[in-house]
């Protein structure tokens, strides 16, 4: 049974849809070339075809925000993809044999990876291979693996004690078949929620990395670097910090709300408990 639409789901969905739409439209149209340096239009005030004005290089802020949305989603999709593809099988495997040595090993390695936050991984990868979008995506993805593995393991352990798994095992189904036919479909809602929350964290991490110079390289626009570039002009042109800051916060809020909303929507039991509160 699926739930009804709730406020978090709708609000989160709308915010995420705006970011996705901005990114998609930016492939075919932006008001101006977001990378075009225009000395005459340096720090141009909003108006006159420049909705949000221009930065210190004369680049249109609105166009940069649109293409920045693309960077944000790109990093989020690849990073969460890496985390889900590695973390989910490991978590399911550990959850299906919770008392075995393999489970113990997986969870210990998991704890170890957990001690390497995305930022440190990105700095280390950046030092070896040069900083860029790719190293940022890999670093954020690998750092997010433990979260997926833990959630997948916990959910698998709950599914494994149900009668239908017992019946499937009794009927002679092999482990892999049980994992794909019974476990994965039943933990998918938990994983979808985790993906949404991880997406929000990936956006924050990408912004922080770009801010430090370990993320997307110029001239490709990114919200984090827009913020970093705006910092020296905070006294004279604070609007340059306002827009990318707002974009990051609204995108993160959107994915967090979407995660909360999906949790309630996909898990009617939880919804009942919340309603009682």
């Amino acid at each position: 049974m699926r739930g009804r639409l709730n406020a978090s789901l709708v609000a989160g969905g709308v915010l995420v849809a705006i970011v996705v739409l901005a990114a998609l439209v930016s492939f075919v149209w932006t008001p101006h070339d977001p990378t075009l340096v225009d000395a005459a239009g340096k720090l141009r005030e909003p108006g006159d075809g420049y909705l949000l004005g221009a930065d210190k290089f004369g680049r249109d802020t609105f166009s940069q925000l649109m293409v920045g949305a693309r960077t944000t989603l790109y990093v989020g999709i690849v990073a969460v993809g890496i985390a889900a593809l590695i973390g989910t099988p490991l978590g399911v495997l550990a959850g299906m044999t919770p008392l075995g040595w393999l489970s113990e090993l997986i969870m210990r390695v998991n704890d170890l990876v957990f001690a390497f936050p995305a930022l440190l991984l990105a700095v280390m990868l950046g030092a070896v291979y040069g900083a860029g979008t790719l190293t940022a995506m890999i670093a954020i993805g690998v750092a997010t693996v433990p979260a997926f593995a833990r959630v997948a393991r916990a959910a698998t352990m709950q599914v494994m004690v149900t009668d239908y798994i017992l019946a499937a095992r009794a009927a002679g189904r092999r482990r892999t078949a049980v994992a794909f036919r019974h476990v994965l479909p039943n933990i998918s809602s938990v994983l979808i929620v985790q993906a949404s929350v991880s997406f929000a964290i990936a956006i924050l991490a990408e912004a922080a990395l770009s801010f430090l110079g370990f993320g997307t390289r110029p001239p490709i626009p990114s919200w984090g670097r827009m913020l970093q570039e705006s910092q020296e002009l905070l006294f004279s042109t604070p609007r340059l910090a306002l827009w990318p800051g707002l974009a990051i916060a609204l995108a993160v809020l959107g994915f967090n709300l979407l995660g909360d909303g999906l949790r309630d929507y996909l898990d009617p039991k939880l919804r009942r408990i919340r309603a009682e509160r």
Partner: protein
């Protein structure tokens, strides 16, 4: 209890050792020989060989690792290939600054989260409780460095009440030290406070539904009295876990906040090390940060057992 602690301690020590191997191996694949880099392109092979021998990079990797990791235990992080300065004292000096930054941020986060979360739980059916929940949701969406930029705008640019950056050591001038750290503390604390508020709220809500609290109320204790006497200890178990995780997040968040406020902490040292290709320095700082995260996880496990005796037998 002792057995549980020993087992956790064993896991902590083993994890730190494996993390050391990983950090060392990772930095060892860096392109460029430190001796060649230090001497430049015109150096003779003999000079490079001599410097390699001085750095010790001509020895087998296993020996180099054993030497480096053995040194860490005694606080000897080696000597920088770039500046020739010993690394240990630099890290110690910067660590003091970062620890002050992180702990101050955590104190502010707790000062916000415990009252706000408890209030939101107790009044979860009225608009004020809902407003606190909504505010914490918004706070979570703001990265600490963005909060820092906003705070600089309000308190340094507009009000001109606090410095926009820079750091004054506490030994030089305690009052200025406090002023220089106030905005960085708030940047970290406000965001973490928002995260923690949600967990405190949900932990308090959980214990409010428990039987023992109902019993305490039935015995005539007021709602806040019963919560204070019986609820907080139970609510603190999940909160301590999150607190540990958040402490690790704060440590890493501090790296970015140090950049915003130009504070000479560990993050600043790390990023300068990367920029200057100071391999051994980067290796040392990364190891300290990773070991700190592992230590925090270990302490969370210990706190767990201290707060909830049931958990001791469970592992």
């Amino acid at each position: 209890m002792i057995l549980y602690l020993l087992k956790r301690l064993g896991v902590f020590v083993a994890s730190t050792a494996v993390a050391g191997v990983l950090v060392f191996a990772f930095m060892a694949v860096l392109p460029g020989d430190p001796a060649e880099v230090a001497l430049g392109v015109n150096a003779t092979p003999e000079a490079v060989a001599a410097l390699r021998a001085e750095f010790g990079t001509d020895r087998p990797a296993v020996t180099q690792f054993a030497d480096w990791f053995g040194g860490l235990v005694t606080g000897d992080f080696g000597t920088s290939y770039v500046t020739s300065a010993p690394i240990g004292p630099q890290i110690a000096e910067r660590l003091n600054v970062t620890v002050a930054l992180v702990l101050g941020g955590m104190v502010i986060a707790l000062l916000i989260a415990v009252p706000a979360g408890t209030f939101a739980a107790v009044h979860h059916r009225n608009p004020v409780g809902a407003a606190i929940s909504a505010a914490s949701q918004v706070g979570i969406a703001v990265p600490a460095f963005l909060a820092g930029i906003l705070l600089v705008f309000v308190f340094a640019v507009k009000a001109q009440a606090l410095p926009s950056g820079g750091y004054v050591p506490i030994a030089d001038d305690p009052a200025e030290w406090l002023r220089s750290l106030l905005l960085p503390w708030l940047s970290l604390g406000l965001v973490q406070g928002a995260v923690l508020t949600r967990y405190v709220r949900s932990a308090v809500l959980d214990v409010m539904r428990d039987d023992y609290l109902r019993t305490a109320r039935a015995k005539g204790r007021g709602r806040m009295g019963a919560l204070w006497r019986h609820g907080l200890r139970n609510a603190s178990v999940p909160v301590v876990t999150v607190l540990g995780l958040q402490l690790a997040t704060l440590l890493i968040g501090a790296v970015v906040v140090e950049r915003v406020f130009v504070i000479p902490g560990l993050g600043d040292l790390l990023l300068n090390g990367v920029a200057g290709r100071d391999l051994l320095l980067v290796q040392g700082v990364v190891m300290v940060l990773v070991a700190a995260v592992l230590l925090i996880n270990f302490l969370v496990d210990v706190a767990y057992a201290a707060l909830d005796p049931r958990l001791r037998g469970a592992r």
